[in-house]
């Protein structure tokens, strides 16, 4: 099956090609010019780039802990034998399978400043809700919230698989020793869940960099650049401003971050993950 090897060219080729492109100036319409490190130099002196980077990390800083906490909470909640529990699991998972565009649209409507349900609801308590997507203070946070809402069910399923791997006998033993459910959670569940938590952490971080669709539907990176993350910035530079070389350089920064985080995680894993039951 040597033909298969050819297929890899299509996956790896673009990654290598993008690397070379990041050293060029290219607007698609005229041939690319080799400009060495200029793209990188420009990028590091451009305040917009730093803002995108900041937004990316703020977004991850909100999204990753939020979605992991929600996922774990829901997983613990549905990890029991009760009638109807599978329906609840199915409901919690359903936003995961639906189109991010449709979700972005309906949340955009729910969060709209004047007619949106949320602000009308807050009005009942005398609170004047902000323009969630139109205010640069709130836009990124609102997107992180919607993405958490969409993806919580996914992490719930991952955590659930981990929870079900913990032998019941350990809980029974701890009960006999007089442990409260809370103690059992902190001293048994969490440590034994750590391989899953580690895996979920990597997935959530990488997932947090792929938030293109919701940003595109809800704010288009705005207002200003207040919700432009790296992923959205790459799209914008490449296909709105036609700066292919510059966007490739940004893409490589993104790649370096993703690669770096994966490596750091694998290194840390040795330190805090308990494997033995």
């Amino acid at each position: 099956m040597p033909a298969l090897i050819g297929l890899f060219v299509f996956r790896l080729g673009p990654i290598v090609f993008a690397f070379f492109m990041s050293f060029t100036h290219w607007d698609i319409f005229s041939p690319p010019q080799w400009i060495g490190f200029s793209n990188y130099v420009e990028m590091f002196s451009d305040s917009t780039f730093w803002e995108m980077l900041k937004n990316t990390f703020i977004f991850s800083g909100i999204y990753v802990p939020a979605v992991m906490a929600m996922g774990l909470f829901l997983a613990v909640l549905v990890n029991r034998k009760m009638p109807g529990i599978t329906s609840f699991r199915a409901i919690f998972f359903s936003p995961v399978v639906t189109s991010a565009v449709a979700i972005g649209l309906v949340w955009g409507w729910l969060l709209s400043p004047k007619y949106g349900l949320l602000n009308n609801f807050l009005q009942l308590f005398g609170i004047n809700g902000p323009s969630w997507l139109g205010d640069s203070k709130w836009a990124l946070m609102s997107i992180a919230f919607v993405m958490t809402w969409k993806m919580a069910g996914y992490y719930m399923i991952l955590f659930l698989a981990g929870l079900q791997d913990i032998p019941r006998t350990i809980y029974e033993a701890s009960k006999i020793d007089g442990a409260t459910p809370r103690q059992a959670f902190w001293h048994i569940t969490l440590p034994l869940l750590s391989p899953t938590t580690f895996f979920v952490l990597i997935m959530a971080i990488i997932d947090s960099f792929r938030n293109f669709q919701i940003i595109y539907t809800m704010t288009r990176g705005g207002p200003g650049t207040s919700s432009t993350t790296l992923v959205y910035g790459i799209y914008q530079n490449a296909f709105v401003f036609y700066r292919m070389g510059y966007a490739s350089a940004m893409a490589y920064i993104l790649l370096a971050i993703v690669g770096g985080i994966t490596l750091v995680n694998f290194y840390l894993k040795k330190r805090w993950v308990k494997y033995q039951y």
Binding site: M1, P2, L4, I5, L7, F8, F10, R11, L12, P14, A18, M21, I28, L77, V78, M82, F88, A90, I91, F92, F93, S94, P95, V96, V97, T98, S99, A100, V101, A102, I103, L105, V106, W107, W109, L110, N120, Q123, W149, Y154, I157, L158, M203, I206, F212, Q213, Y216, T217, V231, Y235, A238, M244, A247, S248, A251, Y252, L254, L255, V258, T262
Partner: protein, 279 residues
């Protein structure tokens, strides 16, 4: 009431609250798809749509489907997603078979590279891909939406390799003794045995392509080739204030996957948990 009943009731109460939070946006989509433009802008918002069970109840659907070509977009989405999912099962099962059962030079290195590409966000490779599609003259056709799926996907290969590795060696030996070559072995033994993971892969690939946005907005420019999510974003930028129609369209984009999810839940959830990866 004893302690256990109280505990159960409170668990159900919490479950119900979260279920409402999860379902509400979908409910709101449906409610507003039965609203007129006047009613949707009412303050405070009304929970009872003004066209529900009245003549012209499906007006929004009619307008969206025929006047704004959503019927066509639905067809495009279906066509693209089916073809792409078919491409995935074809190439991933071949590649999975090769990685599980054949020996060739550099196999482990290649598999390692394949797994590494799983982590790479699409935005990193999309620019060269776009230029390639432009060079090939494929812009504004179905091809750039479908063909990438015919090139090995890392998720699917990983899933199927895992499955194929667990197929007993005896089965393979028996087929080889009967004179089956690698291709026959794949076609008559491995492919039929792998129905479950292939169904899983098909559904996940279908879902990913149905929901995809970046490739359509880059590659498609004519109206009659747009997919549903792309059409929604276009509609949004042109008629941003027509929320009743926008939410009707969103509902149309959501409902086919919901139906598939309802029946194929097991495959979908299993596939996603199995490797913890999408796309």
């Amino acid at each position: 009431m004893n302690y256990k009943t109280i505990k159960n009731i409170s668990v159900y109460a919490i479950l119900t609250i979260f279920a409402i939070v999860m379902v509400f946006p979908f409910f709101w989509m449906i409610v507003n798809s039965f609203n007129t433009e006047q009613n949707i802008f009412r303050i405070p918002p009304s929970f009872i749509p003004d066209k529900l069970f009245k003549p012209g109840m499906f007006d929004n659907y009619q307008v969206v489907l025929s006047q704004y070509h959503f019927l066509r977009y639905t067809f495009n989405s279906l066509f693209v997603s089916f073809s792409a999912a078919f491409g995935q099962i074809l190439t991933c099962s071949l590649a999975g078979f090769a990685f599980a059962r054949m020996n060739f030079k550099g196999k482990n290195v290649l598999f390692g590279l394949l797994l590494a590409t799983m982590m790479v966000p699409l935005q990193v490779t999309i620019i060269p891909e776009f230029l390639l599609m432009m060079k090939l003259g494929w812009l504004d056709s179905y091809l750039p939406l479908i063909v990438p799926s015919f090139l090995v996907g890392s998720f699917g290969t990983f899933l199927l390799r895992e499955f194929y590795e667990n197929i007993p060696k005896d089965l393979e030996d028996a087929a080889v003794i009967d004179g089956a070559g690698p291709f026959k072995l794949y076609w008559y033994v491995f492919l039929p045995l792998g129905k479950t993971p292939i169904a899983t892969l098909f559904i996940i690939a279908f879902m990913n392509n149905w929901n995809a946005l970046l490739r359509p907005i880059l590659y498609i420019s004519s109206d009659n080739l747009m997919t549903l999510p792309m059409a929604l974003t276009q509609f949004q930028s042109q008629y941003g204030a027509r929320w009743n129609l926008l939410l009707t369209g969103s509902f149309l984009a959501v409902i086919p996957l919901f139906i598939i999810y309802l029946f194929m839940q097991k495959y979908m959830v299993e596939g996603i948990t199995h490797t913890g990866l999408k796309g």
